[in-house]
């Protein structure tokens, strides 16, 4: 029985090492000016997919701008931007099959945009109205889509990482040739669940891709106070897991790395850790003001590395995109987002019955009773409950929800 691979080699002086001699290079294909590096790997992103990717990136950028503005106008309670990280999120998603499962953190709306989440779907969730499939139960940006193989976001950090391992284990047994991608921040990677997940994935050999968006900050906490190690990629050695560090603002590098990771995962059941080096260009969320903890100068430096601009230049160079298309699409999307938002914010709130449905597959008597009492209470004080009272009588109370179930 050997308990380690390298225990055989012995030394007779106490030599400590902290791994400083291990160097993890940064994989990149596109220069900041959008030109590919000479002698780089073959680029397998074809025109159709490239346009789909770019469209999703642009969509995400526009959505984020509009919705942050809406939040500032007080129309929306909360928002989080993907800005600056579109390549990491969308490039990796594009390298998957569309029915591979994604378990993301919260800043990955680009993945949904790429897969075809409609503006209506975004808006209904953001406004928590009666068309939101989750019935306005969660804060804005907690999207989910069964049809698009994207698990509903949950706020507690890192919980999705071991879940992704379990999901992928199920996929492996099912034998459909699918894999799971889980995306998380470098801050979330400090949680115990991260360690649990990577270790289990390596031991049980599951087709999972761990994509860490190392964007420099966890809210206000810079990476230097998050870990002392060489980023997150270096942790893979501890689990004997394949890993790679990529320029997260380089759409081609992210795409190629994830493509290869997917091959390792699906063909060899090798879990893979990808660390995408990027930057959160916006505030952490609409509740945050980064001026308290980082400099404009630093932000500016990263703004120059904008992944969207870089991809655009590459596309333009190839003749796969032109300025006219850019203008038109930008305008169309802006209008679409704005108009859809206007409709969504006016839609009714979810029916009262949705307060208690889905807690269990079948609502227990006590909870049903709580709903009935609540209805009676609201009927006694209709003015105090403008969101639910108006619909109660009209629709026969909880009947409205029950008819859904």
């Amino acid at each position: 029985m050997t308990t380690t691979r390298s225990a055989a080699k012995t030394v007779h002086a106490p030599a400590f090492t902290n791994g400083d001699d291990i160097h993890i290079p940064l994989f990149t294909l596109l220069k900041p000016d959008g030109k590919p590096y000479a002698g780089g790997a073959t680029i397998s992103l074809d025109e159709e997919k490239a346009r789909r990717v770019y469209r999703a990136m642009l969509y995400t950028r526009i959505l984020d701008e509009r919705m942050m503005a809406a939040q500032r106008q007080g129309r929306l309670s909360f928002y989080m931007q993907c800005t600056g990280e579109e390549a990491a999120v969308i490039g990796s998603t594009a390298a998957l099959k569309d029915d591979d499962m994604i378990l993301a953190q919260y800043r990955e709306q680009g993945a949904l945009a790429y897969r075809g989440f409609t503006t209506d779907e975004f808006m209904d969730q953001l406004f928590g109205n009666e068309r939101d499939p989750a019935h306005g139960r969660q804060m804005p940006i907690h999207y989910g889509s069964r049809a698009l193989h994207y698990q509903t976001i949950s706020s507690p950090l890192a919980t999705q990482i071991p879940q992704a391992v379990g999901y992928a284990y199920g996929q492996k047994l099912a034998g459909t040739g699918n894999c799971t991608l889980t995306i998380f921040g470098e801050g979330a990677a400090s949680e115990g669940d991260f360690h649990a997940a990577l270790n289990m994935a390596a031991v049980h050999k599951v087709p999972v891709i761990f994509l860490c968006r190392n964007n420099g900050y966890a809210i206000s906490t810079p990476v230097a106070e998050q870990f002392a190690g060489d980023g997150v990629a270096a942790r893979a050695f501890g689990y004997r897991m394949q890993s790679i560090r990529v320029d997260g603002n380089d759409i081609l590098a992210v795409f190629e790395a994830t493509r290869e990771a997917r091959r390792l995962a699906v063909e060899h059941n090798e879990p893979v850790l990808i660390e995408a080096m990027t930057y959160r260009l916006a505030a952490h969320s609409s509740s945050d003001d980064p001026s308290g903890y980082r400099s404009k100068k630093e932000e500016e430096a990263w703004r120059k590395k904008d992944p969207l601009a870089r991809m655009q230049r590459w596309l333009l160079d190839r003749g796969w995109w032109n300025e006219e298309e850019e203008r038109e699409l930008t305008e169309t999307l802006r209008r679409e987002v704005l108009e859809t938002m206007k409709k969504a914010e006016k839609r009714r709130p979810p029916a009262l019955g949705t307060l208690v449905s889905d807690v269990y597959a079948e609502t227990p008597p006590l909870l049903a009773e709580q709903l009935r009492e609540l209805e009676a209470h609201i009927q006694r004080h209709p003015d105090a409950y403008p969101k639910s009272a108006p619909w109660l009588n009209e629709e026969g109370g909880s009947a409205r929800e029950e008819s859904r179930a």
Partner: protein, 325 residues
């Protein structure tokens, strides 16, 4: 019918579930080759292969996180936590994830296939960390179902029902009864209803309510009381949440008296919920206050375990207090 102990009944239930549905998987610390430290998963790896019954690394938060993901994928994971005392590293995965999975997604995703099994409870000289009864923590968490069997017949029927329930279930097994409780168990596949308390014995003067290993205790107390002519109605709650209020209140409306007993500490234990509900729903019918006979408000001790535990004599004293109020 076969005679078996509670542990064998659990094993039999797992075997039955795995044979009936290949999506059922059993895993946890030492559950593979070894069959679990108590041997609840004995021979399952042999029978169903390493892919369906396996050891995990030693990380409860990972076990439950993994199980949540598997359940979301459509599998039917039965995860073992080696002792209920070690379920807390997984508390976040259970309380923030398992419990809210369906609700937060509007039923787009659910982990209804998940069952978490864990031996729980005292009486085996286990001290703080091999004796706890944490059911009340989970009972305060909407979305969870908590089930506790009291004997081998229940263990098989309730575990099968739990595995197949469309909701995630935490299944606590009274480890003191693993070998001590022996009885006839049907060989075939059967389920006992969740969310239903069982009236184990009818009576008129007082209702005694408990679950799991504590059922034996209230039964013994009832015997002592019957010798004094006090007729006891005995109820096994079986499903702690969502609990069967109607069966309990029906009984108390009849007897006018209630003693609830559990091993967990008094303050914030599930007996509090029962007492609060019963005083509200049976107010005019109660002849005396609902009595709670529970562990002390201390960590679980070792040498003085017997002093700590709510044994038959303590329940008997409570019956007297209730009758003579």
């Amino acid at each position: 019918m076969s005679r078996m102990n509670l542990l064998q009944a659990v094993n039999n239930a797992l075997d039955t579930a795995m044979a009936a549905d290949e999506r059922v998987l059993c895993f946890g610390e030492d559950v593979g080759v070894f069959g679990g430290v108590f041997r609840a998963t004995s021979h399952l790896q042999e029978k169903y292969g390493r892919e369906r019954c396996f050891n995990t690394p030693l990380v409860e938060q990972g076990i439950v996180g993994f199980a949540n993901g598997l359940a979301a994928q459509g599998s039917t994971p039965v995860a073992e936590i080696q002792f209920a005392d070690y379920i807390y590293p997984a508390f976040d995965q259970i309380v923030n994830e398992t419990a809210k999975f369906r609700y937060r997604s509007g039923n787009l995703f659910d982990v209804g296939g998940l069952t978490i099994r864990a031996p729980y409870g005292g009486g085996i000289a286990g001290g703080h960390y091999h004796s706890q009864s944490p059911e009340a923590y989970f009972a305060h968490t909407p979305g969870l179902t908590v089930v506790i069997p009291r004997n081998p017949h229940q263990a098989k029927g309730l575990l099968l029902a739990s595995i197949r329930s469309p909701d995630p279930v935490i299944f606590f097994e009274p480890k003191r009864l693993y070998r001590a409780s022996v009885g006839e168990v049907p060989d075939e596949d059967y389920e006992l209803p969740l969310r239903q308390a069982e009236v184990v014995k009818e009576g008129n003067d007082i209702t005694l309510l408990a679950w799991g290993a504590q059922m034996e205790v209230i039964e013994q107390a009832a015997e002592m009381a019957e010798q004094e002519g006090i007729s006891c109605e005995l109820i096994d709650l079986r499903t702690i949440v969502p609990w069967d209020i109607a069966t309990v209140t029906d009984s108390v409306l009849k007897t006018g008296r209630l003693v609830v007993s559990h091993e967990a500490p008094l303050t914030g234990g599930f007996a509090a919920e029962i007492a609060a509900t019963v005083q509200s729903r049976c107010f005019l019918y109660l002849e005396s206050p609902v009595e709670r006979v529970t562990g002390l408000d201390t960590p679980f001790p070792l040498t003085l375990e017997k002093e700590y535990l709510p044994g038959p004599l303590k329940v008997f004293d409570a019956i007297h207090r209730s009758m003579n109020f």
